[in-house]
């Protein structure tokens, strides 16, 4: 299983649906949420044991991203997904030193349903 980490700064539904899609593609996805959540909300969204969900305080979020990127195993090319262009631009810098795939996820609602698309950042 290849590691995948989705940093959630914007939206949620699209990230969750994409994580489910990654499970099917034999990734082990983790969702890192910017902001602390109440226990009952965490319990609500942590139902799928195949998807790890962690909430991180806003001021620690960037540091957390940095450590997560450093943790990526060099032998297995990991996938990193972000929801903000600014974060994608920042992470592009790390690609010089670490080998990982970087994607930007955009989500919106259309006729009351969530639609999302990913874009490879090279």
């Amino acid at each position: 299983m290849r590691p995948a980490v989705i940093f959630v700064e914007r939206g949620w539904g699209g990230c969750k649906e994409y994580a489910k899609e990654l499970v099917i593609k034999e990734y082990s996805p983790g969702l890192i949420i910017k902001g602390k959540l109440e226990q009952n909300i965490l319990a609500l969204i942590r139902k799928d044991p195949r998807i790890t969900i962690i909430d991180v305080r806003e001021f620690l979020f960037k540091i957390f991203i940095f450590f997560k990127i450093m943790q990526l195993n060099c032998n297995q090319k990991g996938l990193v997904v972000v929801t903000k262009e600014k974060t994608a631009a920042w992470l592009k810098f790390f690609k010089k030193y670490k080998d990982f795939e970087l994607q930007l996820l955009n989500e919106k609602t259309q006729n009351g349903k969530i639609v999302y698309q990913t874009q490879d950042i090279i």
Partner: protein, 285 residues
Amino acid sequence: MKIALIYETKQVYHSGQYFLYAFQQLGHKVEHFDLNSLKDIPKTYDLYLRTDDGYYNFIWPQDIKERSTYWICDTHLKKPAKKMRKLSHSFGKCFFAHYTSGIKTLSKIKNFSEDFYWLPFACDPQIHASLQKKVNIEPIYDIAFVGNEGNIPRKFILHELRERYTKSYIGYADFRKMGTVYSYSKIGFNYSINNDLNPRIFEIMITGRMLITNNINDSKFLELFKNRENIVVYNNVEELFSLIEYYLKHEDEREAIALKGQSLVLSQHTYLHRAQEILKVCGLQ
């Protein structure tokens, strides 16, 4: 009577428009002006109403101060509240939509007790209830929510609703179609941010569908509405899902609450009522 309404037209969905229709229905001559044409507004109007549209960088002409009113809405948000508190000095009378946050933000102003009045949001039957239940619409959605996802925790609750109730409409809709979405739903969902008595409450109720909302910590909330009588209130997510399950199964109870809610907003909470209130306060009725 001649009334000038001032709000930005860039915003597609704006309550200023509802006031325009309401004053017209009351037989007044109403004209709308954009914020950037503030200098060119003729000084001949009997009343000037500036509605909150999210733009706060303007200087209000002081020669019309006594005939000017400002409807302040976003007092539940820190930055806009601060800006609107400053701007309120330029108007003869001010109205505020959220009671608790409005009092908190504005009550320190010298003339607060004389010139500030509570005026909550409302609905417009022509726009929000164009498809009334009298045409016997069969609901196709279990749950409906029209609006943006918001932040923590609203976006998580909304997606959970999407996952649990696949026959739902949760997301953006044009304000002209909003009423149709709610009319085709069994339950209209609301999650108020920072305890604001938001327009969604009224917009759902007028469609004749049951409103389920979080418990809003605004002292006027339970004064206006009665839990399990004309609305349904939940205190936590567990309760939310058990209440939704219950009311989806008990159609008669759901319909009874919805109808009571609809008749309440139609009789007391339309923009026509709010327009009348403004005129009354300004001594123009």
